[in-house]
C-alpha cells in the first residue's frame, strides 16, 4: 500500500480579480520513496505540499477527489484529528531556517515541543530525545546548541535543527519544501545527505520540492514536473535526461553544464497548451 495517495488535487484562491488556480487537478501517489516535485516559481509545487497538510490559509481553497494517508482519508478528518497528522505522521521542512525557526525560543525548547506535542513523555525524556536527534543530524555540541537561539546558529546548522525538529515525532512522510535553496552551495549537499540518510533509515516517504533539477535527479527516485498547476511529466530521476515533454526538455537545456559549455543558454519556451493538457 502506498503511503500517500492524491487524486485530482486543486488549490484555488478567490481574489478581487477572480479565481486564481494555483494547483489544477494533480494526482500522484507516494510510496517509501523519494519523490521530487520540480517546477518554476508559481507552478504550484509549494501549494501542493501545504494542501496535503491542510495548511492553505483562507482565502485559499483546497479540493480533491481523494487525499489518503496509508489508506486513511484525510479529507474527512476534523481539525483536531488533523493536528495529530501534522508533525506526527506528515511533517514539513521549509526553505529558510532564518524565518522558519521561532526567533525568541531556544532551539531546545522548539525541538522538545515538537516531540512533546505528540508523545506522552516527561520533559527529561524529551530532552534526551532532542539531544539524540541533534546528534543524528551531525551537530557536534548538542548540549550547547539546545540552549542557543536561532540567530546564534548558521544557516546550514539551522536547517539541520529544522530537520531534527521535524523528524523527532517519527513521521511517515517528510515534505521538504526547497530545503536548501536558502543555504550556501557548500553546505547544501551535506544537509541533503543527512536528510536523505535519516529518511531512508526510517523507511519514510519523502516529497522533495525544488527547482533545482540537478539536486532532484541526485536525491530522488522519481520526479514530477509541474507547470502552471499541472503535472506535465513523471519520470525516473535517473532517466530525467531522457524526459520527452518539451517543458522538461526546456528546463534541462537551460542548465549550464561543465562538460558541454555553451556561449548562450537556451531560453525556456512556454506553450499555453501545456497548461491545458497533461
Amino acid at each position: 500500500m502506498s503511503l500517500l495517495d492524491v487524486e485530482n488535487l486543486r488549490v484555488s484562491f478567490d481574489t478581487s480579480q477572480g479565481v486564481v488556480e494555483a494547483v489544477r487537478g494533480i494526482s500522484f501517489s507516494l510510496g517509501q520513496e523519494r519523490l521530487g516535485i520540480v517546477g518554476e516559481s508559481g507552478s504550484g509545487k509549494s501549494m501542493t505540499g501545504r494542501a496535503i497538510l491542510r495548511l492553505v490559509r483562507p482565502p485559499g481553497r483546497v479540493e480533491a477527489d481523494r487525499i489518503a494517508l496509508e489508506g486513511q482519508d484525510l479529507q474527512s478528518l476534523g481539525e483536531r484529528q488533523m493536528r495529530k497528522v501534522r508533525g506526527r505522521r506528515i511533517s514539513m521542512v521549509m526553505q529558510d531556517p532564518k524565518f522558519s525557526l521561532n526567533p525568541v525560543m531556544t532551539v531546545g525548547e522548539q525541538i522538545m515541543e515538537a516531540y512533546l506535542l505528540h508523545a506522552r513523555d516527561s520533559r527529561r525524556a524529551a530532552r534526551r530525545k532532542a539531544l539524540e536527534m541533534l546528534e543524528a543530524v551531525a551537530i557536534r555540541d548538542p548540549e550547547r546548541v539546545m540552549k542557543a537561539y536561532p540567530h546564534e546558529v548558521s544557516g546550514g546548522m539551522g536547517q539541520r535543527i529544522m530537520i531534527a525538529m521535524m523528524l523527532i515525532p517519527d513521521p511517515r512522510i517528510l515534505i521538504a519544501d526547497e530545503p536548501t535553496s536558502a543555504l550556501d552551495v557548500s553546505v547544501q549537499r551535506k544537509v541533503l545527505s543527512i536528510m536523505d540518510g535519516l529518511v531512508r533509515d526510517r523507511g519514510m516517504g519523502l516529497i522533495f520540492i525544488s527547482h533545482d533539477l540537478n539536486l532532484v535527479s541526485e536525491f530522488c527516485d522519481r520526479v514530477l514536473i509541474m507547470y502552471a498547476g499541472r503535472i506535465v511529466e513523471t519520470c525516473d530521476a535517473a532517466r530525467l535526461h531522457e524526459a520527452r515533454h518539451p517543458y522538461t526538455r526546456g528546463l534541462l537545456n537551460s542548465l549550464p553544464r561543465l562538460d558541454a559549455p555553451r556561449a548562450r543558454l537556451e531560453v525556456l519556451a512556454r506553450d499555453p497548451a501545456w497548461a491545458e493538457g497533461g
Partner: protein
C-alpha cells in the same frame, strides 16, 4: 566538511552582562536628565514672565526691584545661574510655589500619587482589555469580532474625553448614583487613613480601612475606566497590527506543521514575538497617563500633577511649572530606559 560553528562562542545566559548594561543605562539616564534640566532652565529664562516682578509687585521702587533681583540670584551670569539651579534640583529643591506658598517638591509629592494611582489603574484596564481584544481581532481578521474591535477603538480615538467624562458623571453619578462624584474621596472620609504612599487605595488597604477603600474606589472607578478605555483603544489597535505581522511569519507555519493547537500557535509562538513591541507601546501609554491627563483631572477635580501644572501655568507660577516639568520628564525618561532594559530581556537578539 567542518561543522558550522555557532556565530557566538557560547549562548548568553539571559542576564549575563546585566550590571554593565545597568551602569551604561544609568549613565545615559544622567545625560538625558541633564539635558532636560537645561531645557527647563532655558525655558524659565526666555519666558516673558519676570520672576522679580512676581515677587515685588508692579509698583515696587527700582531699589527694591534690584535688591529682590540680587536675592533671587538673577544678577549672576547665566552659567552660574544654571549651576545654582542644578545644585538646588539635586537637593530636591525646586523653589517655592507662588500659588500654594509651599515648596514645589512638597506639592509634587502630594499631587503626583493621585496621578500615579489613576494612571496605573487606567493602564492596567487598558492592557487587560486591549491586549486580548487586539489578539482576538487579529486572529479573526475581517470577522465580526474584528469589526467590533475596530468600532470600539474608533470611538475611543474620536470621542473627546471631556465630553465622555461629563456624560459619564451625569449618567453614573448624577442619575444612577453608582459611582462617587468628582474628587478622590467624599469629604467626611478625608484624612481618615494615614498618608503613607499618597495613593488612597493603597493607604486605605495598608490601614485595613475597607470603608475608605470602597469610597476611594467608587471615586476612581469612573476616571480610571475612561483613561482605561482610551489606552485600550490604542493598545488594542497596536496589538492587532503586531499580531497580524507575527501571524504571517514563517515560524508560525512551522508551529502549525508541528501539529499544535491554534491557541498555542497564537499565544505561545506569535505572542512571544510581539511582547517587545507591545511593551514599548504599553510603557509609552503609561508614561502619557503619568504626565497627568489634564482634562480628566479637571473634570473629575482630581488633584493630580496635570491639574497642578496647568493651574501653575495659568498663574505664571514658574517654579511649580518647571519643577513639575522636570519630575514628569524624569519619569518619562526612566520609564523609557526601563522598557529598553526589558526589551533586551525579552528579545534574545537584542542581547
Amino acid at each position: 566538511m567542518p561543522q558550522a560553528a555557532t556565530r557566538r562562542g557560547r549562548p548568553a545566559a539571559p542576564l549575563a552582562g546585566l550590571p554593565g548594561r545597568v551602569l551604561a543605562t544609568l549613565g545615559s539616564l544622567a545625560v538625558t536628565v541633564l539635558g532636560l534640566l537645561f531645557v527647563t532652565f532655558f525655558i524659565g529664562r526666555v519666558m516673558p514672565i519676570d520672576p522679580v516682578l512676581a515677587v515685588v509687585g508692579e509698583r515696587a521702587s527700582p531699589e527694591v526691584y534690584a535688591d529682590a533681583r540680587a536675592a533671587l540670584g538673577l544678577d549672576e551670569p547665566i552659567p552660574v545661574q544654571f549651576w545654582y539651579y542644578l545644585r538646588e534640583v539635586a537637593q530636591g529643591d525646586f523653589g517655592m510655589s507662588l500659588l500654594t506658598a509651599r515648596p514645589v517638591i512638597d506639592d509634587i509629592a502630594r499631587v503626583f500619587p493621585a496621578t500615579l494611582e489613576l494612571a496605573t489603574l487606567g493602564v492596567l484596564a487598558g492592557v487587560v482589555l486591549g491586549v486580548p481584544l487586539g489578539v482576538l481581532a487579529a486572529v479573526n481578521r475581517g470577522s465580526w469580532i474584528d469589526q467590533i474591535a475596530r468600532l470600539v477603538a474608533l470611538v475611543g480615538y474620536s470621542m473627546p474625553i471631556f465630553w465622555l467624562g461629563l456624560i459619564g458623571l451625569l449618567v453614573f453619578y448624577g442619575i444612577l448614583g453608582w459611582v462617587g462624584g468628582p474628587g478622590r474621596l467624599d469629604v467626611f472620609y478625608d484624612g481618615l487613613v494615614p498618608t503613607v504612599t499618597g495613593m488612597i487605595l493603597v493607604d486605605a488597604a495598608l490601614a485595613g480601612d475597607w470603608t475608605v477603600f470602597g469610597n476611594a474606589f467608587s471615586h476612581i472607578v469612573l476616571p480610571a475606566s475612561l483613561l482605561g478605555y482610551f489606552s485600550m483603544a490604542y493598545i488594542s489597535r497596536m496589538t492587532r497590527s503586531f499580531m497580524l505581522e507575527a501571524l504571517s511569519a514563517e515560524y508560525i507555519t512551522t508551529a502549525r506543521v508541528k501539529g499544535m493547537s491554534e491557541w498555542r500557535v497564537v499565544w505561545v509562538h506569535a505572542f512571544r514575538n510581539i511582547r517587545v513591541q507591545l511593551l514599548t507601546v504599553i510603557v509609552l501609554s503609561y508614561a502619557n497617563l503619568l504626565e497627568g491627563s489634564v482634562l480628566t483631572e479637571i473634570i473629575f477635580s482630581w488633584p493630580g500633577i496635570g491639574y497642578y501644572i496647568t493651574n501653575a501655568l495659568l498663574a505664571a507660577d514658574m517654579n511649580a511649572v518647571l519643577g513639575g516639568t522636570v519630575v514628569v520628564g524624569t519619569i518619562f525618561i526612566v520609564l523609557n530606559m526601563l522598557s529598553d532594559l526589558l526589551y533586551k530581556f525579552f528579545d534574545p537578539r537584542a542581547r
